[in-house]
């Protein structure tokens, strides 16, 4: 997550007034096997998608709560960023999509024997959403089901 001091003033003011959702009890599932044996998936809120293959994310900020499933062998450098927030500098992620969906880096850790395997599918959504309740209701179950079908042991969330 980003540090508070980095946020523009308008966003800090908005976040102070935002009706944050309180989740209790906090969901928790301990890792059931060593990382060296675990299957890892990436969940990114950069809204990355394959132009010409996947549906793009909606342009009305806060409205699109859908997810895109990206295969393990996707060429990350060809992905388009559909994140609609203007709160951060997009140049870094647009220059190197591995910053937001580090599939190549993760595969390298598998090769080095530090991670068990890379999951066959990974999750991308537009993190700039106000309708978090809709996301939890409409999309989170799809994500949980898909990761479960793929027998994923842990998902790393890369927030953008």
């Amino acid at each position: 997550m980003a540090d508070w001091d980095e946020l523009p003033l308008t966003y800090r003011l908005m976040m102070r007034a935002y009706p944050w959702r309180r989740v209790s009890p906090t969901p928790w599932a301990p890792l059931r096997r060593p990382v060296t044996e675990a299957r890892i998936a990436i969940v990114s809120s950069a809204g990355l998608y394959r132009a010409g293959i996947d549906r793009s994310f909606g342009t009305r900020e806060g409205e699109d709560v859908t997810v895109r499933w990206l295969p393990r062998d996707v060429a990350t450098m060809r992905l388009t960023m559909g994140q609609t927030s203007d709160a951060f500098n997009r140049a870094a992620v647009e220059s190197d999509q591995e910053l937001a969906l580090p599939l190549t880096r993760l595969a390298e850790l598998v090769t080095l024997g530090e991670v068990g395997s890379v999951a066959p599918h990974h999750v991308s959504f537009n993190g700039s959403m106000l309708s978090t309740g809709r996301f939890l209701r409409d999309s989170a179950p799809e994500v949980a089901q898909g990761l479960s079908v793929d027998q994923v042991d842990a998902a790393l969330f890369v927030p953008v």
């Binding site: 980003a2 301990p30 220059s95 580090p102 190549t104 390298e108 953008v160």
Partner: protein, 47 residues
């Protein structure tokens, strides 16, 4: 909740810095095994 802070817009560090990005990933993976039992809030700042 387990988290690694980052510079806004640079969730895994610098663009095209493969070693730096692997270092952040390792930090995240260490948190997976270091935390528990039960939910905790832990912040890890990779070197």
């Amino acid at each position: 909740m387990l988290s690694v802070p980052f510079r806004f817009g640079h969730p895994l560090g610098e663009a095209h810095d493969a070693e730096g990005q692997r270092r952040v990933l390792r930090a995240l993976l260490q948190l997976l095994t270091a935390a528990g039992p039960g939910p905790v809030l832990r912040v890890y700042r990779p070197e």
